[in-house]
Each structure stands twice: as structure tokens, then as C-alpha cells.
């Protein structure tokens, strides 16, 4: 199970890649493995605002559905439109091609509150 060092995480298994003012968000390798084959992902529209720890969308796998939680607050500046036709990208490439949204970070302090890779791995220990 991959947990890239350079990313930040939530306990709800989202990852965040911070690039300047923007945070790219997806779900972790662990999360995609637990969900199984993803068949649909519902994302906000560009321009909508999301709030830290509030649902920003849902993800349907064959067996189950889950909420997606925003790791940080801010305006959605991009969504991964490839996921519409190919939601399996989330399974195949959770940290790269399976990214979901980019958020313009409203409060850098929220980024600081996220888990490090190490802390996330530790949290996963409870599951493994």
C-alpha cells in the first residue's frame, strides 16, 4: 500500500498535494482498495466552495458508496473531468491520474492541521 511521503492526509483517507495556493485532493491507495472498483464519482463544480471536513462529493464503488470530505476549505478551481468516463482511474492511479479536485486554499492553517504521511500510516496501523 502506497503512502507518498510528500503528501498530506486526512483520517478519512483523502490525500492533499499542496502546490502554492492550491491543494489537489484525491483518495488514498488504502481507500481505493477498501472501496473496490469505483464506478461513479460525484464532484462539485468549479467555482463552488468547499468546507474543511464537510462532504464535497460522493464516490460509488460496486459494493458501496462513501462521502468525500474536503481536507481544506476554499474554492474549487479544477475538477478531474477524466473521472467521468473513467472512474477506474481512482483505482489504477489514486495519487496521480485519479486526483479529484483542486481547491484554492482559503486558510493555510488548515493545511498545517492535516496528517503527515507518517501520521497517516500510523492511523492506518489500526486498520491493517
Amino acid at each position: 500500500m502506497k503512502v507518498p511521503k510528500e503528501l498530506r492526509y486526512t483520517k478519512e483517507h483523502e490525500w492533499v498535494r499542496v502546490r502554492g495556493q492550491e491543494a489537489e485532493v484525491g483518495i488514498t491507495d488504502f481507500a481505493q482498495g477498501e472501496l473496490g472498483d469505483v464506478v461513479f464519482v460525484e464532484l462539485p463544480k468549479v467555482g463552488e466552495r468547499v468546507t474543511q471536513m464537510k462532504s464535497f462529493g460522493t464516490i460509488d464503488a460496486v459494493k458501496t458508496v462513501s462521502d468525500l470530505f474536503a481536507p481544506v476549505s476554499g474554492e474549487v478551481v479544477a475538477i478531474n473531468t477524466d473521472l467521468k468516463d473513467n472512474p477506474a482511474l481512482i483505482n489504477q492511479s489514486p495519487y496521480e491520474k485519479g486526483w479529484m479536485i483542486r481547491i484554492r486554499v482559503a486558510s493555510p492553517a488548515e493545511v498545517d492541521s492535516l496528517l503527515s504521511a507518517e501520521a497517516y500510516e500510523k492511523a492506518l496501523g489500526a486498520h491493517a
Binding site: G36, D37, V39, D60, V62, K63
Partner: protein, 377 residues
């Protein structure tokens, strides 16, 4: 030493699942593989090749003795007494109220009747059957000592013919043969739960692993795959086959569930006959229908079905229809909204997704050798 998983039973194939990297989940008291490489790939492997399912959690009960046929016939709604040796029958078993205790397969094995029931219902069924058994019937629990594999898909016949010879090719749909005795006993039936041609193979637990290995050796590596319970569910759902506990239970009767073809009201007597005769006469208020959704959200158990904004039913099973390419569901709807082609909506998490009422099966391209499905009444 006890651990948290020690209360879960394991089938004889447990070591194979683990070696194959299966994701194991608790199911009906067993630790079962829900998937190996992924539900979508496994589903497609069955539709286009051969899939092998460990279904050893299913419960086996043998009725022996001079009264076995007659007693089996009293327990279930379908005709299982006068059927020829070597025939298998799918049937509900009902309460006095007409509600469904379980749905099962009954095999006509000489004078015996061999019953294969749902894992989650095994203890309940065994108690139900024992409590009513007449003195000329012995009820034998064969569950622990029986392993079951479902070998399903258009390539299944070739695989099993290599193991059991050409008699496999001669099997008609819902027939079987048995061979061997004692620990060498096996039963092979042309039955399944996938909509593809296929077989179910029963062996004694001591022969389970070698049977698994021989089946995989007989299949072309590119075409044969282990398949978990996840794809078993998506395959059966596309066929509109009922899953006990989701689509049918003690509060639903077989007529509502579209299983009228399994209820022989002309039989002399069986448990639940009276209310089912009445239900047939007066008609049922709701029907279990198939739904194909025009949207991307996946319907789930308990979602509401609406017609012009009014609640007319409830989803009992739902998933992505992997071979259909659209989300599919089964739902109980009011009788007046149960006709094929009827347009409804499914409330999927606050949004209403348009859906069309369909017959069952929803997927009609399968290789299963079944007679054409009858129109639901």
C-alpha cells in the same frame, strides 16, 4: 488462542484464497473472499470465460428414508416428489403465512432429497425441517463435510469435461449426476446463479483442495479466474435472481417476488399453500421488478422508488450493471407501477434518477441454457 476472527468459520479453500490475495470478509458466519483482482474484472471473466466461486458456505441437508420425497414436497412450493432421479429444482420454502423461510435447490438423488440452502439461513432451516420431520424421514446435516464450487461461464463445460468426462456435456440445465461414495462422492449439476452456462460441484471437504487445483489446471490460464462474492452479487443481480435477506424474506411471498413459476398451487398440500392460493386469487399488491437507471448514481437497498413524485416502491438490491453498462436494481413496486416499460424515478441520495421498469432478467445475453424466462405474472 482466541482472536477476533476465531468465531468465523473457514471453508476448505481458505488457504487458496489467501494465496491468491483475496480480500476476505465475514459473510454468514464464514470468512469468505469478496474479491481477488476486482469485482468488475471477475464479473467479466464469468461472462466471457470461466469463473470459479467458493460457495462452500451454502448449507447442505439430506432427507433420507421412505418418506423423504413426500416430506420434501410438503416443505417447499415447487414439485420435488415426482421429478426424475437426477433432476434439480429451484424452490422457495414457505412459512404457514406464505412468507419465505428460504430459497433453495432440491436435488432428486434416488429416494433421497438433497437440499442446498442459504448459509445465513442454515441453522434456521435445519431446525424448521427437523421440527416437522415425520418418523419415516431422517434429516442429515451434511454441511460441515461438503465443499461446493460454482464453475460458471461459457467455458465451464470444457473445463469440467476434462475432469468428469463427456457426461458433463450431456447434462441438461437443472440436471446432475453423482459418482463415487464415501469421501470420493461428488455431485455435478448444471446450475448456477450467474446467467451463464455453468455447473455446481459438490465434494467432500477432504477432497476440496484437490478438486480446486484440478479445476484450475483444466482451465486455460487466460480464461479461468477465481471469483468472489462481490461479482457473484453483480452477476445474479443483472439476472434478476433473488438474494435472500435482500429481495425476499419471511415478510415477502413468492408471488410478489415474481417466483410464481416455482409455486405449484396444484400440489395436494404444502406449507403456506392456503395463503398463497388466496394471494393468487386476490392478486398481490406489490411486485418485485427489475429497474434499469438512466443515470450514474448507483441505487442501493432501501432507496425509494417514485412515480410522479409519489413513493411507489423500495429498492431491494442495486448495483452497477457491469455487463449492461447502466445502474440496475430490483425493487418492490405497487402492482400498478410494475408493468414493463413503466417510467419511474429512484431517489438516489436526494436526487431523482429516471429509471425504466424491466422484466427479469435485466441482462439477456448470457449463455445460460435456461428456457426463455416466462413473463412475470
Amino acid at each position: 488462542m482466541l482472536d477476533t476472527t476465531s468465531t468465523l468459520k473457514r471453508t476448505p479453500f481458505y488457504s487458496r484464497h489467501v494465496a491468491l490475495g483475496a480480500k476476505m470478509v465475514p459473510f454468514a458466519g464464514y470468512e469468505m473472499p469478496v474479491q481477488y483482482e476486482g469485482i468488475v474484472a471477475e464479473h467479466r471473466a464469468v461472462r466471457g470465460g470461466v469463473g470459479v466461486f467458493d460457495v462452500s458456505h451454502m448449507g447442505e441437508i439430506r432427507l433420507r428414508g421412505p418418506g423423504a420425497k413426500a416430506y420434501a414436497n410438503r416443505l417447499v412450493t415447487n414439485e420435488v416428489a415426482s421429478i426424475p432421479d437426477g433432476k434439480a429444482v429451484y424452490t422457495p420454502m414457505c412459512l404457514e403465512s406464505g412468507g419465505i423461510v428460504d430459497d433453495l435447490l432440491v436435488y432428486a438423488s434416488g429416494r433421497d432429497r438433497f437440499l442446498v440452502v442459504n448459509a445465513a439461513n442454515f441453522e434456521k432451516d435445519l431446525a424448521w425441517i427437523r421440527a416437522r420431520a415425520p418418523s419415516d424421514v431422517t434429516v442429515e446435516d451434511e454441511n460441515e463435510d461438503t465443499a461446493q464450487l460454482a464453475v460458471q461461464g461459457p467455458g465451464a463445460e470444457d473445463v469440467l469435461a476434462r475432469l468428469y468426462g463427456d457426461r458433463v456435456r450431456g447434462l441438461e440445465f437443472y440436471t446432475f449426476f453423482e459418482e463415487g461414495a464415501g469421501k470420493d462422492w461428488c455431485l455435478v449439476s448444471r446450475t448456477g446463479y450467474t446467467g451463464e452456462d455453468g455447473f455446481e460441484v459438490y465434494v467432500r471437504s477432504s477432497r476440496a483442495l484437490e478438486t480446486w487445483d484440478r479445476i484450475f489446471e483444466a482451465g486455460a490460464p487466460a480464461l479461468i479466474r477465481p471469483v468472489g462474492l462481490g461479482a457473484r452479487d453483480t452477476l445474479r443481480l443483472e439476472m434478476g435472481y433473488c438474494l435472500y435477506g435482500n429481495d425476499i424474506d419471511e415478510t415477502t411471498n413468492p408471488l410478489e417476488a415474481g417466483l410464481a413459476w416455482t409455486v405449484r398451487l396444484d400440489k395436494e398440500d404444502f406449507i403456506g399453500k392456503e395463503p398463497l392460493v388466496a394471494a393468487k386469487r386476490h392478486g398481490v399488491r406489490r411486485k418485485l421488478v427489475g429497474l434499469v437507471l438512466d443515470g450514474e448514481r448507483i441505487p442501493r437497498h432501501g432507496f425509494e422508488v417514485l412515480a410522479q413524485g409519489r413513493a411507489v416502491g423500495t429498492v431491494t438490491s442495486g448495483s452497477m450493471g457491469i455487463s449492461i453498462g447502466k445502474p440496475v436494481a430490483m425493487a418492490y413496486t405497487d402492482q400498478e407501477h410494475a408493468a414493463r416499460g413503466y417510467k419511474v424515478e429512484v431517489r438516489t441520495r436526494g436526487q431523482e434518477t429516471p429509471a425504466t421498469v424491466t422484466g427479469r432478467p435485466m441482462y439477456t445475453m448470457g449463455s445460460v441454457r435456461a428456457p426463455k424466462p416466462r413473463r412475470a405474472e
